[in-house]
Amino acid sequence: MSTNSPDRIRKVSIIVSRGSLDGVYPGLIMANGARMEGIEANLFFTFFGLYAVMKGYQDKIRIATVGNPAMRVPDAKGFPLPTLLGALPGMSAFATRMMRKEMEKLDIPPVSEFIEMIHDAGGRIYACKATVDMFHLKPEDFVPQVDKVLTVGEFYELSAGAQIIFT
C-alpha cells in the first residue's frame, strides 16, 4: 500500500493560533485525519487557539460574523452579510448554530469531543507557555487531554522530523 512509500508524511505538528470556529476546526480535522492515516500528530495551541482546550470554553467557540468578508447568508452561495448586520447581538451565535447543525450531519464532533477523540487516537496536545503566562492561566484551567504546557523550544524539539503546519 502507498503507506509504505519512503516520502510519505510520517509526523505533523499542527499549531492552532486562532479562537474562532473556522480557526480551530481545520487544525483538529487535520490532526485527527493524520492519526487516521497512521501519521504521528502533535497539536500545539497558542494565543486564542487555547480556548479549544480550556475547561468551560471549548464548546463556546463561534464563527466571526464581523470582519469576515466571505460570510454569506443564508448559505454558502447566498448574499454577503453586511458588516453592520453581522454586528447585531446574537448574529454570531446564530451563524454558529447553523454551522454546527451542518457539522453534526457530517459527524464532525463538538470541540470538546473532538479533542478527546484526537487524544484517544494517540495525538498529543500541548498548550503554549508564553500564552499561558500572558493570559494568567493555570494547569487546572485546561481539559485533562492537555499533555503539557510547552515552551517554543520544547515544541521544536518534539517536532523533530515533523512537518509543521500553522493554522
Binding site: 503507506t3 480535522i29 457530517l106 464532525i108 484517544d120
Partner: protein, 104 residues
Amino acid sequence: MAQKNIAGHTVDVDAEGYLTRPEQWNRAIAEALAQELNLQLTDAHWKVIEFLQSDYRERGTVPGMRRLNKVGGFATKDLYALFPDGPIKKAALIAGLPKPASCV
C-alpha cells in the same frame, strides 16, 4: 481493474487493494487480508468488521470515527488498539469495503 489471488480466491481490487466487489468477500479472504496488515483477527476485530459491513449496507458509506463511537459503541482507543495506525482504513479493507471517503 486489477485482480488479486487471495486465500485461494480471485478477487477484483482497486489500486490500493480495496475489494471492488463486496460479494466476492468471505471470512477466509478477511483473515488473509488481515495477515497482510500483520493483524490476527480476534472476536473484537470481527465485531468492528461486522458493524462496518452492516452500516455500509444500510447507508452506502463507510462510517466515520464518531459513528463508530456513538452508533457502533466502539471506543476510539480500542479501535486504534485493534487496528493500529489507521483503524477505519484497515478495518474497511479487511471488511471488503471501499476506502473511507469522509474527512472525519
